[in-house]
């Protein structure tokens, strides 16, 4: 197992390196001088007279007068020291700004994932157990509707009904961590908004995996031994169906992490996604880079974790 973890972690290094490179090079891919991207003519951060001076200062500070490979090395070097540079907008270190938002987004994503797993797997199993019944058709349809509904629209409707209409939950904000009595009410609607689509996908996958597994010989054996149906389905069925579901969970976590930007925007929830979006509209490119990097690197790490879980659950992978 140790050897597998080491090997798999090793494979993640080139991906992480390339992600950093891609985010770095994004600034240089845009046509024209990168300084135009950082300080566009309509940039609100600099007056016309101070412009040339600030431009020169920025060029030196960011090392834009250096050759590209030197720039990249110093960028990557700074990242290793957890230095993401300063925001052009607030002039503050981006790391300080991002960390609390990162926590907020992680909380939101984890809760959304929880909702999605809870609904997705239980309803998926139900659908497979009652395969081809009216209940199954209904579930399949609702699951597809969940995947198809635009999450920003769903979020607004949830807000309209449960916050503005019924007043069960506050419509926006995040006064405290989601894992406190005060904060939990604020995260329910965003997490539900975010989790629905992913729940739909999980229902579909759980259903198809369960249908396959329930045909297996060992399930028939378990039944013929006279085990109760619930035990057959959960112990003998779901347990082996879980393996492929775990892989999908990793990808789902990534989509949730990125999709959080929508829930955060609708519910004015101060997370990385909203930071990223504000940075885009402020034309604060270093902040955009860092936000994107945070999300992408988290996703790479989560996938690493998922692969390890998978190897732990299925010994065949470790030894191949």
């Amino acid at each position: 197992m140790g050897k597998y973890i080491l090997r798999r972690s090793f494979f993640a290094i080139p991906v992480i390196f390339s992600v950093v490179f891609l985010v770095f090079i994004a600034m240089h891919i845009a046509p024209g001088d990168p300084i135009d991207l950082l300080l566009p003519p309509d940039s609100p951060w600099v007056s016309d007279d101070g412009r040339a001076e600030y431009e020169a200062e920025l060029r030196t500070r960011l090392g834009l007068d250096q050759p590209l490979h030197i720039q990249f090395l110093s960028y990557a070097g700074n990242l290793l020291r957890f230095d993401f540079g300063d925001s052009l907008y607030s002039k503050q270190p981006i790391t300080n700004e991002l960390l609390p938002r990162y926590q907020a987004t992680l909380e939101l994503t984890i809760l959304a994932m929880g909702i999605s797993i809870l609904i997705g797997i239980s309803v998926g199993v139900l659908s497979a157990v009652f395969a081809n019944s009216w209940l199954d058709s209904l579930i399949t349809f609702v699951a597809l509707a969940g995947v198809s509904i635009p999450s920003f629209w769903l979020g607004l409707i949830l807000m309209l009904v449960f916050a503005l209409g019924l007043g069960w939950f506050p419509p926006s904000g995040r006064p405290a961590s989601a894992f406190t009595a005060e904060g939990i009410r604020f995260v329910v609607l965003p997490a539900a908004t975010l989790g629905i689509a992913s729940a739909g996908i999980l229902v579909r996958i759980t259903r198809s995996q369960m249908l396959e597994v329930l045909e297996e010989d060992y399930v028939r054996t378990a039944r013929s031994k006279g085990l109760r149906e619930a035990r057959v389905v959960l112990r003998h069925g779901l347990r082996s169906a879980l393996l492929p579901i775990v892989t999908v969970l990793g990808i789902q976590f990534g989509s949730l992490l990125a999709g959080a930007v929508v829930a955060e925007t609708v519910f004015a929830y101060p997370g990385v996604g909203r930071y990223l979006l504000q940075a885009v509209s402020n034309r604060d490119f270093p902040a955009v880079q860092s936000g994107a990097l945070f999300v992408a690197l988290t996703f790479v790490l989560v996938n690493l974790l998922v692969d390890m879980t998978y190897a732990f659950l299925d010994p065949r992978i470790r030894y191949s």
Partner: protein, 295 residues
């Protein structure tokens, strides 16, 4: 021999009774029938939009702002007195063309990538797939946000962003399909009589892996339309006053408490469009791929 027989069976089996099988599926599954009707209707509406829309989608009427649905304004009017029905109708052109063009471009590059990587294998495959891995490290809509933020939010950049977002999955799907077809006897036979790689890939491999690509393109179109609308909602898509569905929801949300109909109809338009494309994709999968080979 078995593999040859199977390959023939797939080609013939898919081509001939496709319409009849689709018809049977519609007969049994009413959701499929409805999605087919809705999609057909949508295409007609998109093509004839300027003739169907009763009002100018940009025309502001300050005497009639935020009207609820009526005989004059089927979906009511928005906060600037613009006819929401006309805006939704004209907006179908934008959403559908963004989705269709983005998927077409993504498919072109993704499939080419997958064909080359899968057919040639070895180092080429390894390098190309690692490139795809890197693109896939940017989950969901993140890559699109990054692209639009660098290049600016215009329609063509939104299309580009969504196309890039579609490339990796098309590439992986195509590569996997090529690998399963490549070893079949008819490909070996074609290779052994000296057919060069390019014609071999185009004439012999591509037609036999088209089913999963078609299925996937339909599903991807749904994702791309949803993605385009999401970018519009986030303010990264087309700019106002263009009647883009996502943007319409975004504009309307400030008046949501008093006039929920402003966000209701454009959102419903996105939802139903994406839902029917997804239903259609599912139906195509069942009809084109009854054995579930490509799942």
């Amino acid at each position: 021999m078995i593999s040859v027989a199977r390959a023939e069976e797939t080609t013939i089996g898919v081509r001939q009774p496709f319409l009849r099988r689709m018809w049977k599926r519609c007969y049994r599954n009413k959701a499929t029938l409805l999605s087919l009707i809705f999609t057909a209707l949508l295409v007609v509406v998109t093509l004839l939009a300027p003739w169907i829309a009763p009002h100018d989608p940009l025309d502001q009427d300050y005497m009639n702002t935020s009207q609820t649905p009526s005989a004059e304004h089927f979906f009511g009017t928005d906060n600037l007195g613009r006819d929401i029905f006309s805006r939704v109708i004209i907006g179908s052109r934008i959403s559908l063309s963004i989705g269709a063009i983005a998927v077409a471009i993504g498919m072109l590059f993704g499939v080419t990538f997958g064909l080359v990587a899968g057919y040639f294998g070895g180092v080429i495959d390894e390098v190309m797939m690692r490139m795809i891995d890197v693109l896939m490290a940017f989950p969901g809509i993140l890559l699109a946000i990054l692209v639009v933020s660098v290049l600016g939010s215009t329609v063509s950049n939104v299309i580009l962003a969504l196309a890039i977002f579609s490339v990796p999955t098309f590439a992986r799907l195509t590569r996997a399909s090529v690998l399963s077809v490549k070893e079949l006897d008819y490909v070996t036979a074609a290779y052994s009589i000296g057919i060069r790689p390019f014609p071999l890939i185009i004439r012999h491999i591509l037609p036999n892996i088209s089913a999963p690509i078609i299925i996937y393109a339909t599903l991807r179109m749904a994702t791309a339309i949803l993605g385009g609308a999401t970018l519009g909602f986030l303010g990264l898509g087309v700019s106002p006053p263009t009647p883009e569905w996502g943007l319409m929801v975004s504009d309307g949300r400030h008046f949501m408490r008093t006039d929920p109909h402003i966000i209701l109809f454009p959102g419903l338009a996105i939802f139903l469009t994406v839902l029917s494309l997804n239903l259609l994709g599912d139906a195509l999968r069942d009809v084109l791929d009854p054995k579930g080979q490509y799942n």
